[in-house]
């Protein structure tokens, strides 16, 4: 069926204008064209990752039901009104008739025409009312994830809890891709560290703003394993367009595997490898903001990042399991090459978990993207990273600065980062 | 009182605002008393009546000044409409807005 009955409306509207000057026959042809084109359009099943009409979870389905009620209704009303207008425009065109009787109206008709829309709307209103309260329900939640937005990426932290019988003993921090188990009612507690963002995975639920200082609740649930795209949808400054996110649904078993992996600390690469040298570069540069759990400084103490001293938001993505995610920099860029990405996105639900849990294997690593990023991040994604212009934020960056790394450092870092699975 | 005498005398000549100097002074005294009562809540514990008493006094004072000092009571309907629309809208809009911040819970 049509995705958009208003589209039918605009088709219709063009039709009407034709009808206005031409004959009724043409108008009828136009109508027929409009109807058939609507059917044609609906025939083309699209594959848009952010389509709002392809719900993949309970709450999105509830919304979709309401959409299926109100859109056709609006379409029908539109068609009726436009038909009436078209008819009037043709019937009462100036054919040389006398000046019409100066009728000032007809209260019966008017009251009727006021009551009819009121009735229609009150029916819609009842369903809306019910829908709002259903969507706000949280008391049967099975899992909680804290979602924090900042310019221009999302952080997810999973508090210690037991999900579907699997224990998350230590809090997990990840970013960009939200991983959830299928068939589980997951509650997102959203907030922000700087400006207002909005979390929106169309396939799972409508959007909800992440407001600094507030906790907003959004419940999502995925029916089947798969990956669902989203995009920050509240204007949040310079790189708003590059603040994306993905939600990954894994079967409960796969999810347990994922959790087990996330609970691991990173291990240092073998001595005297390129990756080992990369670790040194990391400890010199990246650790200022990016945490890698388990990473130790040369003196053996734990290396703890201090993003609060360098970045205005006070946080930077935790890179401990970077290669378990498919994207980086606010899910704006792929860690996977195009081919591998396609494999993940088009994987059938049954095999999706296996494909996803492989992470970014060496063959699939998108070297171009990650190297470009390390070479000059702000050039790839606009950010406030020019130290000269940071007076207002006490010299703290908003986003990642250009680190001025040498090509060999970049080689080493890439080697090291690939070990962070 | 001298001024009052001339005032009542001339009252018919002036606009029909119906507020003589004497009445104005009486109203001011009443308003003063109410303010004193309000202030007393600071020194005396009114318990559960604290908020309602203050609110009622505030509203009464407000309306008294508006009706008599600003003689809105004696003015044309249109003037009342203009002012009270603004006032009513302000009350409605800001009450609702505060309610969304869970101000009253």
């Amino acid at each position: 069926m049509s995705h958009d009955s208003t589209l039918t409306g605009s088709e219709q509207n063009l039709t009407i204008f034709k009808g206005m000057i031409h004959s009724a026959r043409l108008r009828r042809i136009g109508l027929a064209l409009g109807a058939s084109s609507a059917m044609f359009l609906s025939g083309c099943a699209s594959n848009a990752p952010q389509d709002t009409w392809q719900p993949k979870g309970e709450n999105a389905e509830k919304i979709n039901t309401l959409q299926w009620m109100v859109f056709p209704l609006a379409g029908i009303v539109g068609v009726l009104v436009f038909s009436l207008i078209g008819y009037i425009l043709w019937r009462f065109r100036d054919k040389g008739q006398a000046i019409p009787h100066q009728s000032h109206g007809n209260p019966t008709i008017e009251i009727t025409l006021t009551i009819i829309p009121a009735l229609i709307l009150s029916v819609v209103g009842v369903f809306t009312f019910r829908g709002i309260f259903q969507l706000a329900q949280t008391n049967d939640t099975q899992m909680v994830i804290n979602v924090t937005g900042q310019q221009w990426w999302w952080e997810y932290d999973y508090p210690a809890q037991v999900v579907n019988g699997v224990e998350i003993a230590q809090p997990i921090i990840t970013s960009g891709q939200l991983v959830i188990p299928t068939g589980t009612k997951v509650l997102l507690r959203e907030t922000s560290r700087d400006v207002i963002h909005s979390y929106w995975i169309p396939a799972l639920n409508g959007k909800k703003d992440a407001v600094p200082g507030r906790i907003n609740l959004l419940r999502i649930q995925a029916n089947k394993p798969g990956i669902f795209a989203g995009q920050c949808s509240e204007f949040c400054g310079l790189s708003h367009a590059n603040m994306r996110m993905e939600a990954v649904a894994l079967s409960p078993e796969d999810f347990a595997t994922w959790i087990a992996n996330q609970q691991r600390n990173a291990e240092s690469p073998a001595q005297a490898t390129l990756a080992d040298e990369g670790e040194t570069v990391f400890l010199n540069q990246c650790i200022r903001c990016h945490q890698v759990n388990g990473l130790k400084k040369a003196d053996g103490t734990a290396a703890i990042a201090a993003p609060d001293e360098n970045v205005y938001a006070g946080a930077a993505p935790n890179l401990t399991h970077l290669m378990s995610r498919n994207t980086f920099a606010g899910a704006a860029f792929d860690l996977l090459t195009d081919g591998c990405r396609k494999n993940v996105w088009s994987a059938a639900p049954e095999e999706f978990g296996a494909v996803y849990l492989k992470g970014v294997i060496a063959d699939c690593l998108n070297q171009t993207n990650i190297r470009r990023w390390l070479r000059n991040a702000p050039a790839m994604k606009p950010m406030y990273a020019n130290p000269v212009k940071l007076e207002a934020s006490d010299g703290k960056y908003r986003g990642m600065p250009n680190l001025g790394l040498s090509e060999s450092d970049i080689d080493k870092l890439v080697a090291y980062l690939s070990t962070l699975k | 009182m001298n001024a009052t005498a001339t005032d009542t005398h001339e009252q018919h000549d002036s606009h029909a605002h119906g507020l003589s100097d004497a009445t104005a002074i009486k109203i001011a005294l009443i308003l003063g008393t109410m303010t004193a009562l309000e202030v007393s809540t600071y020194f005396v514990d009114f318990g559960a009546f604290f908020m309602p008493v203050l609110m009622v006094l505030m509203v009464v004072k407000f309306l008294t000044v508006v009706s008599y000092f600003m003689h809105l009571k004696f003015e044309h309907q249109m003037f009342k409409f203009l002012f009270y629309t603004g006032l009513g809208l302000a009350l409605f809009v800001y009450f609702v807005a505060l309610a969304t911040f869970k101000f009253f819970s």
């Binding site: 206005m20 379409g75 009462f92 309260f133 | 969304t100």
Partner: protein
């Protein structure tokens, strides 16, 4: 024939004052020039002010249009390179701000200023000098807003300017300062002129014109002015809070202190939603004049149209939070605002039905003005229906901040408001300039705009439902999808459409130039119109009416031309418009008092502008601004109510026949 009586040169010299005061006194007198640039700058004539509003608005319509075209160019293909992220953000912010504050509101004010007194049968507005003040404040605001382009970058926080993104840390350039100041000043201007217009409507109607015999255009303008009077102070509060935070370090939106960013959103939308009706209702008023004229029938259900307009205004104050369904208000608030939002669809629907039924049984003349009016009905209905789809709050959470919303409000504002204003251009052009706009070019203008508009904004419905959010300086192939509904195709269509729309508007400008140079002089009553503005010459004289008309009917002018044949029930013409105008001239009033021009409105506006710049650039400039305001405000108040006789060129004698000022204007 009445004239504004001026003395003959023989009366000039007053022996008491041998020195010619024109050389000596400059600013202490009221200016009196009636030609040249001074006659415009210092004018208090509502018609001249109306025209200046129009010119100003048209200029910014073009500016905003160019900004829109740049935006569409950037988005025509994935990863657009025409604008940087920063510039794009400034562009969409200023596009919205310009179109709303510097085009739509001034253009509506242009129509209101010009036609309100004419339709009411008045000689001028209630406070002519305040009227001029409103205009010049708006100009000051507009200049300040746009000067930011050249002074370190324009505002980049969106026209909604949500905190904390608009705070000093997240928008470090001066752009937001200029924005708050500019909007604030323009807002003062609107406040001043709206108070003026309300008083005009309530006090200065022609004898016999009860409120329910007043043209619908005046009604809609009155509703709009009430909306402005009661919503502008709210945005003033919001802007003051933001200015204090940015310039003086206040903490209002500082989350670290415990502030709640939603405060801004509430204040903004308490203003912002009535503002939507401020934009659309004048257009409703215009087509409520155009449709009856060209259908040769009175408006169907006049009281219903009036009351639906008023109730739209009233309910419009109770629905602001539907812009905030996704902000986490809690289900109760969302439900309440959702229902209220649906309720507002009812009066809107009533209007559409009444317009439609006005045409029923009529004798429709498809002039360009009528075409635009019909275009408004159809396009606005589309926008209205898509509006209903997001009054359903859960559905809105999928649509808000996507291109679906962009499509919705452009159908409402371009399809609704702009089409209404263009309908007004074609309808009233002969009245204002005495020449007919070319109908053939008008046809091109209309059809290109219809096609362009639908091509631009129609596809945005699809884009939005496919999940393309707004305000993104690029869109990416990775999220574009495949098949018929992919982003790429429809974005290209939209960009193409925007240029067609632009060509349509260009043709209007060509039409204007063409008309000015070669246009036919307009007949006195070219459209067989219905309301009082046509009972005088085109363009109207400075004093509007030779004789203040006495009103007996709604559509007075029509009823003076036609009478119902009591037996057959047919309307029979008893006089032509030209005859009626002649009759008025023959029975002109003897003495007509009009206010003198004044220096002070523009002086105050200069002072306010200086003060505004001072907020950005430092206290000394502020002091200068305050001094200018103080001086000119007292000059304004103390100004003699009558220009001195000797100020006239040639000077005039005696006081009784001079121009006269409305009290405390």
């Amino acid at each position: 024939m009445a004239i504004i009586e001026r003395p003959t040169p023989a009366d000039t010299i007053s022996l008491r004052m041998p020195v010619t005061p024109a050389q000596s006194m400059g600013i202490v007198r009221r200016p009196v020039t009636s030609t040249g640039w001074k006659s415009w700058v210092f004018t208090v004539d509502h018609k001249k002010i109306g025209i200046m509003y129009g010119v100003f608005a048209m200029f910014f319509f073009i500016v905003g249009g160019v900004e829109a075209l740049l935006i569409r160019l950037q988005l025509a293909a994935p990863d657009g390179k025409i604008l940087s992220a920063d510039l794009y953000n400034q562009m969409f912010t200023m596009h919205a701000t310009t179109m709303i504050f510097l085009f739509a509101m001034p253009m509506a004010a242009a129509f209101a200023n010009y036609f309100l007194p004419l339709q009411l049968g008045a000689r001028d507005v209630a406070f002519p000098r305040l009227n001029a003040l409103g205009l010049w404040l708006l100009v000051a605001g507009g200049l300040i807003l746009n000067s930011s382009w050249f002074l370190g970058g324009a505002a980049d926080g969106g026209w909604f300017m949500y905190s904390p993104n608009s705070g000093p840390v997240f928008s470090p350039s001066n752009g937001v300062d200029f924005w708050t100041i500019g909007v604030q000043i323009a807002g003062f201007g609107s406040l001043v002129s709206s108070i003026n217009l309300i008083v005009t409507i309530l006090n200065m109607r022609a004898p016999g014109m009860t409120l329910m015999k007043m043209p619908v255009f005046c009604w809609m303008i009155m509703v709009v002015q009430f909306l402005l009077v009661f919503s502008l102070p709210v945005i003033t509060v919001a802007l003051v809070l933001l200015t204090f935070q940015r310039s003086f370090g206040a903490t209002f939106f500082d989350v670290a202190q415990g502030a709640d960013p939603l405060l801004w959103q509430h204040l903004f939308w308490i203003f912002g939603h009535p503002e939507v009706y401020v934009l659309i209702l004048p257009a409703f008023g215009i087509i409520s004049e155009v449709l009856p004229t060209f259908s040769r029938k009175p408006l169907f259900g006049y009281p219903f149209v009036v009351f639906s307009g008023a109730s739209i205004g009233l309910v419009g104050f109770g629905v602001w939070s539907h812009h905030m369904f996704a902000t986490g208000l809690g289900p109760i608030s969302v439900a309440a605002f959702s229902i209220a939002t649906m309720a507002i669809a009812i009066p809107t629907g009533v209007k559409i039905f009444n317009w439609t039924l006005t045409m029923w049984g009529g004798k429709i003349w498809y002039s360009t003005a009528m075409k635009f009016a019909i275009g408004l009905i159809v396009l606005f209905t589309i926008g209205g229906l898509s509006g209903v789809t997001h009054a359903v709050a859960p559905s809105d959470t999928q649509q808000t901040d996507t291109y679906y919303i962009v499509a919705h409000f452009h159908y409402v504002l371009v399809g609704g408001m702009v089409f209404g204003l263009f309908s007004g251009f074609y309808y009233w052009w002969p009245k204002v300039f005495g020449k007919m706009l070319n109908e053939k070019l008008g046809g091109w203008n209309f059809w290109l705009m219809v096609i362009g508009m639908n091509m631009t904004f129609g596809p945005m419905h699809i884009l939005g439902l496919q999940g393309q959010p707004r305000r993104m300086y690029v869109w990416t192939e990775a999220r574009a999808g495949e098949g018929f509904f992919n982003f790429g195709f429809w974005n290209r269509v939209a960009s193409l459409g925007s240029f067609i729309l632009a060509i349509g508007i260009l043709i209007f400008l060509i039409n204007v130039v063409h008309t000015a140079r070669k246009g036919k002089p307009a007949p006195l009553d070219p459209w067989d119109a219905r309301t009082l503005e046509w009972i005088t010459t085109s363009p109207p004289k400075e004093h509007n009416f030779d004789r203040i008309p006495v009103v007996h009917h709604l559509d007075e002018f029509f009823h003076r031309k036609y009478q119902e044949n009591t037996t057959t029930g047919e309307m029979v013409q008893i006089a032509t418009g030209a005859q009626l105008v002649q009759a008025e001239e023959d029975n002109a009033d003897a003495h007509i008092h009009l206010p003198s021009p004044s220096y002070w409105p523009i002086a105050i506006a200069v002072g306010v502008g200086t003060l505004g710049l001072g907020v950005v650039y430092g206290v000394p400039i502020m002091i200068v601004g305050v001094l200018i305001i103080l001086g000119s405000a007292f000059g304004f108040v103390l100004e003699p109510s009558v220009a001195d006789d000797i100020d006239y060129d040639p000077p005039m004698s005696g006081g009784q026949d001079t121009k006269e000022l409305a009290p405390l204007g």
